[in-house]
């Protein structure tokens, strides 16, 4: 009897070891963990509840915060008196990006000059009136030191090697109804002198680095849209897609998913602008089909997650680019913005939350509070952090560069 029990125990141990070994081999061979093979529902609703959103580096208004599983610690006050917001880009590019070694954070700040009258015609501002001053600043996480990199600058991007790119405006001041243009400048490191990468001024908005290429939205004069370019060096820009914005960079940095002409998604090879895959949203049908995907998504393995007018969309590149899942987000008026995969089944981002706050006379666009969000796509549940008012941005500090 005892011998039989021992044989059973040894058998169980061997089986467990075998299973672990197989899992390990699969993981090493594919670069994926077992959870990635988790099947997401084709359509589902994400629930939302208050709770701890997990660990990471975050912005809480002007405060840089490090979060652990159930606690958070303020690290520094940023901005030198400016707000930590990015009025020129919104979520098109991150407000802050961390270096890959977590030694520094580069971020946008803003000094508001004009008083906005939200219910007045033209918001009470005449053409040419100074509205604000955008700046780029750097916080050294090791020394705890905050440095102004440039006034009259916006849209920073930090490479995996530590290079910093941003738009250096021709003017320090943003003015009402006047295009804000400038040049891309690139510094090889936080201590290097920036070099000009574009000799002609334009509304350049750097987004991220894809290996040695800098992905840039180049605004066109008569549209809020832009063309998507890849720059390899000074004036070495290649058009990747006209009327397009980047959604996510592939994990190896060789490809970018972009929305071109709003309704077409393209997987574009960064080195030569070749279109590797395409998906027309016009072919999608049904009430949950997205009308358009938003920028500020992320790419992990074969999957890409992005916000949309229908909620959180998961695309899959395996077997041809297709919509794998649509997660409705009824708890969030505008979905989950800037979603980033933190593992194979979890996503973090931020969202407008709660009831809208009307403008004084009720004719302007209402305001929403905003909060950090973390979601599990398998259990279809999200936790939501404390809410901040509209101009006190709550954001994860990540980096879309690869």
């Amino acid at each position: 009897m005892r011998a039989h029990r021992r044989a059973l125990a040894i058998g169980a141990v061997v089986l467990a070891l075998g299973a672990t070994l197989v899992t390990g081999v699969v993981t090493i061979a594919t670069g994926r963990s077992g959870r990635e093979s988790a099947v997401f529902a084709r359509t589902a609703k994400l629930t939302a509840a208050r709770g701890a959103v997990g660990k990471g580096l975050t912005l809480d208004g002007t405060t840089l915060v490090t979060r652990r599983a159930s606690s958070k610690q303020p690290l520094a006050t940023l901005g030198g008196g400016d707000e930590i917001i990015a009025p020129l880009t919104g979520s098109l590019t991150p407000v802050a990006a961390a270096s890959s070694d977590r030694s520094f954070v580069v971020y946008s700040s803003w000094r508001q000059l004009a008083r906005i009258q939200p219910d007045a015609i033209g918001q009470g501002l005449e053409t040419g009136r100074p509205v604000g001053v955008p700046s780029i600043r750097l916080f050294d996480l090791r020394r705890g030191k905050d440095t102004l990199l440039a006034n009259g600058a916006a849209s920073p991007a930090v490479s995996t090697g530590g290079a910093i790119a941003f738009l250096a405006g021709d003017s320090m001041t943003v003015r009402q109804n006047v295009d804000y243009v400038g040049r891309i400048v690139v510094a090889d490191s936080p201590t290097s002198k920036p070099r000009v990468w574009t000799s002609m001024p334009a509304r350049y908005l750097p987004y991220a680095w894809a290996g040695r290429f800098l992905l840039v939205h180049r605004g066109v004069q008569d549209s809020e849209g832009a063309d998507l370019y890849a720059y390899a060096g000074p004036d070495e820009g290649r058009l990747l897609a006209p009327d397009a914005y980047a959604i996510a960079v592939s994990p190896d940095g060789t490809k970018v998913l972009a929305a071109a002409g709003v309704r077409t998604l393209e997987v574009i090879r960064v080195a030569d602008a070749a279109i590797e895959d395409t998906l027309s949203l016009d072919t999608a049908s049904g009430p949950s089909a997205p009308q358009a995907l938003m920028y500020g998504g992320s790419w992990r393995g074969d999957r890409i997650v992005a916000n949309s007018d229908r909620g959180l969309v998961v695309l899959n590149t395996r077997g041809g680019l297709h919509v794998e899942s649509v997660f409705a987000t009824p708890g969030f008026p505008h979905g989950i913005a800037e979603p980033v995969f933190t593992d194979d089944t979890s996503v973090e981002g931020w969202a407008d939350v709660g009831a809208q706050h009307a403008t004084p006379e009720g004719s302007g666009e209402p305001a929403y509070d905003n909060a950090l969000v973390a979601c599990d796509l398998v259990t279809q549940s999200c936790v939501v952090d404390q809410a901040n008012p509209a101009r006190k941005w709550a954001r994860w500090v990540t980096n879309p560069s690869r």
């Binding site: 990015a86 015609i121 033209g122 918001q123 509205v131 849209g225 505008h334 407008d352 666009e365």
Partner: protein, 175 residues
């Protein structure tokens, strides 16, 4: 002579106090591709309701989404605009700064036509920027778009109205 002078002064005063002829745009924002657009002058004449669209998402305080609620200056109008992305009959709107600080800029009312108010179309299956193919053309990167087809089009109706009753000075976006 004195009576004539009095008459002239009275006539001049009447002209001075009469409202200048002007038009106002009203956009009832209800969906990305199926909202309504109306043009009214300051004497109450109206185009009636035209279908219109705006944006590719419903978060007005992010770029490329539908136009924020509020009152806009119509900065200028051109019947033969020759821009790189939009052409023909266009109206430029004032910038808007949202409650979260994000600025919406380069906003227009327009359609899809050439600077000569024509159509530049190609084979089916491709969306040509200066050709109104159908309902999907109501999507935009933030601007308000009116149909260019069938002829006479909604765009022509609005353009003819403002040329008849007075140039548009304001746009009101409401929900």
């Amino acid at each position: 002579m004195k009576a004539l002078r009095l008459l002239l002064v009275t006539a001049a005063a009447l002209v001075w106090t009469a409202p200048a002829s002007a038009s106002y745009f009203y956009y009832h924002r209800t969906s990305l591709t199926n909202s309504t657009f109306e043009t009214i002058d300051n004497f109450g004449h109206s185009t009636g309701y035209n279908r219109a669209g705006s944006g590719s998402g419903t978060d007005a305080c992010q770029h490329n989404n539908w136009i924020p609620l509020g009152a806009y200056d119509v900065l200028w109008h051109d019947d033969n605009y020759g821009g790189s992305r939009i052409q023909g009959r266009v109206w430029r709107l004032s910038d808007y700064q949202c409650s979260n600080g994000v600025r919406r800029t380069e906003l227009f009312v327009h359609s899809e036509e050439t600077s000569g108010q024509g159509q530049s179309c190609g084979p089916d299956g491709t969306d040509y920027p200066f050709c109104w193919e159908g309902s999907h053309d109501y999507y935009s990167l933030g601007c308000i778009k009116l149909a260019r087809q069938p002829v006479p089009s909604d765009l022509r109706q609005v353009d003819s109205f403002v040329h008849t009753y007075g140039m548009a000075t304001d746009l009101w976006v409401f929900s």
